[in-house]
Symmetry: C2
Subunit: 343 residues, 2 copies
DNA sequence: ACCTTAATTTTACGCGCGTCAATAATTTTG
DNA sequence: CAAAATTATTGACGCGCGTAAAATTAAGGT
């Protein structure tokens, strides 16, 4: 039970019997004052309700203790999960996470960055939109503010890129699919918003050729981030037209696969391995909903826990050292096969 | 192309030939200065790169132009969608939305509110966790900061509650289900985190009785916000034990239904209307993924566009009038039936 | 042109805190 | 126990902008 509200540090100095500059030191770094005074301060803090005014504090610092987190599309549960992992990691390090979503819009992305710039964050974690991002403006921002890119790369932007090894993960699932049935065709958007899709395209092609198979692509038309809808609509179209060259479809990501599975169900096609099945469908990412599709989706899990913690680690080391990276770091984490029922 | 960076309003006053107080007025409300001077300012703004320092601005205002948005669980695509709708509405009104997720944790919820309090927001839109929320502390917050609750109510907290009319929407789908087949049993969590679940429980009971049927409840054990997992696990258990008293299951929300559908698929049960089907499953909310389940989920759509815009509208009217509501407003929006394949 | 009204400029203070220099108090060391 | 080293206090200034009062200027109407 707090006795009374204290409005300024001056007042708090009066009631606590500690001088204001010492209090200021304490709030900036509790370890910088003698332990006996720290205890006195904390005892007073316990009795009185006082918190330094953020605006006054930050006005007199060139760097705040905010870390911006910008994701391309928060309505995608994958990024929601990543954000959920990132936030507590920030908080533990004593920083305030500020989460912004670009909602699939490059202009919004730049607006988010400008909005962050105004806040003078200590650092930023940015998962860019990708292909449609305004690359030059993103690079400009990264020059001014320490930034770590994750999930999706923009060449030359930021101090580091932490992501998935699409080459390895796609090879992994292609090999699995070839080993257990017909070689897969690759279901992808013809104009994907995200460059990971391009890497996966190339990785599929390389993996198929290495195994002596002919790569076959299933191009889904559509723009934007409504992947399930695109997967469903284009999946329906392909199933209608009997365009499928094989009974095995590897989707560029799980959200497309969710749409394809819905289409297959609609068409009465039994999906899965084994005899009674007409189709195998696999995805990529291990999306939170992948285990609740029908059938449960076989996919490659991105190591997003590692990606999250490494991204935070990188930005913190830049912040704490106070020096930007001279050479840009790129760190890719390997995916792991998640065998379920769909392939 | 901006000529040079201006650091302070003083400097900008010098280069633009406008006095600093006038500039201050302009930045607070561009409409408050004469149009001729507005044009001069905007011309200068076009040539020089200057933005007022947020921290200095907010220090000297008792109220900032921030609106806090607190949701219980951002990894739930429903809330992600709501947030996505809310953000542009805030921005259009000239406010900066600050999105925080409680991640299903009551302590985090209070922390979010405290964090917002420190920011002195003009107002807050709060979708509380519900049953497990620390009600007293939420009420305390709402006393200090204009707050509109949405989605889930906490009695006596905030200036208004904007939500769904569970009574109406549940009756709607119960009547539909009874009209088209066997009366439904109600699949729900025995200890739901959200009081909407309790309202839906009561609404189901009332609707069934009104139609002359016996309400039957299917209680799913489990804690937390992993509804799909609970629906799947408990659905499996019930299907294993052949506990189902009818062939029709109405789930308390779509996320549970997604789990139940996955369980039914796993068990080889054909879900849907009509002859070949062994089970009908319906949900509530019209979750973003409801149209990609197998089969597509019949459900009741919450009017979340209306809920979003009305919530913003309420908080803006409180902010702009500067007076808190004397009587607490409660506004419930009706749901609409979304007939798909599952029931 | 003159008056009224509205808008702008000048001047000046204050917000709450960071931070510095000089001084005083406390702790540590020899 | 005195000297040295560390930590706290006192006093003061500045950050960038809001804002008030008084003086000045510009716009609108007859």
């Amino acid at each position: 039970m707090k006795l009374e509200k204290i409005r300024t540090m001056e007042e708090f100095a009066a009631v606590s019997g500690i001088s204001r500059p010492t209090l200021s030191k304490y709030f900036n770094d509790p370890g910088s004052v003698r332990s006996s005074t720290r205890e006195r301060i904390e005892a007073a803090l316990d009795r009185y309700d006082y918190r330094p005014n953020i605006y006054a504090v930050n006005q007199n610092r060139q760097m705040t203790r905010n870390i911006g987190i910008v994701v391309p599309y928060l309505a995608d549960p994958f990024f929601a999960e990543v954000a959920r992992n990132l936030e507590p990691l920030c908080a533990e390090a004593g920083f305030r996470p500020i989460l912004l979503s670009s909602h699939g819009d490059p202009a919004q992305e730049i607006e988010n960055l400008e909005s962050l710039r105004a806040i003078k964050p200590a650092g930023v974690l940015l998962a860019p939109l990708g292909r449609r991002s305004h690359h030059e403006e993103v690079r400009d921002f990264c020059r001014d503010v320490p930034t770590v890119l994750f999930d999706c790369d923009i060449p030359g932007a930021g101090d580091a890129f932490i992501g998935s090894d699409n080459e390895q993960s796609i090879r992994l699932i292609v090999e699995y699919l070839c080993r257990t049935g017909e070689p897969p065709a690759f279901f992808e958007m013809t104009t994907p918003p995200n460059p990971n899709a391009n890497k996966r395209h190339a990785a599929y092609e390389a993996a198929m050729l290495a195994l002596g198979h002919t790569p076959r692509f299933l191009g889904a038309e559509g723009e934007g981030w409504s992947f399930e809808e695109i997967g469903y609509r284009e999946g329906m179209r392909m199933l209608d037209g009997r365009e499928l060259p094989t009974d095995t479809v590897l989707c560029s990501n799980d959200r497309l696969a969710i749409g394809v599975l819905a289409a297959a169900y609609e068409k009465g096609l039994r999906v899965g391995l084994g005899h009674g099945s007409a189709l195998r469908v696999a995805g990529h990412d291990d999306h939170p909903y992948a285990r609740y599709t029908c059938p449960q989706l076989t996919t490659v899990a991105q190591d997003y826990k590692e990606i999250s913690s490494r991204s935070i680690g990188e930005i913190l080391s830049i912040i704490e050292s106070g020096i930007r990276r001279k050479t840009r770091l790129t760190k890719l984490y390997e995916g792991t096969l998640v065998m379920r029922r769909s392939a």
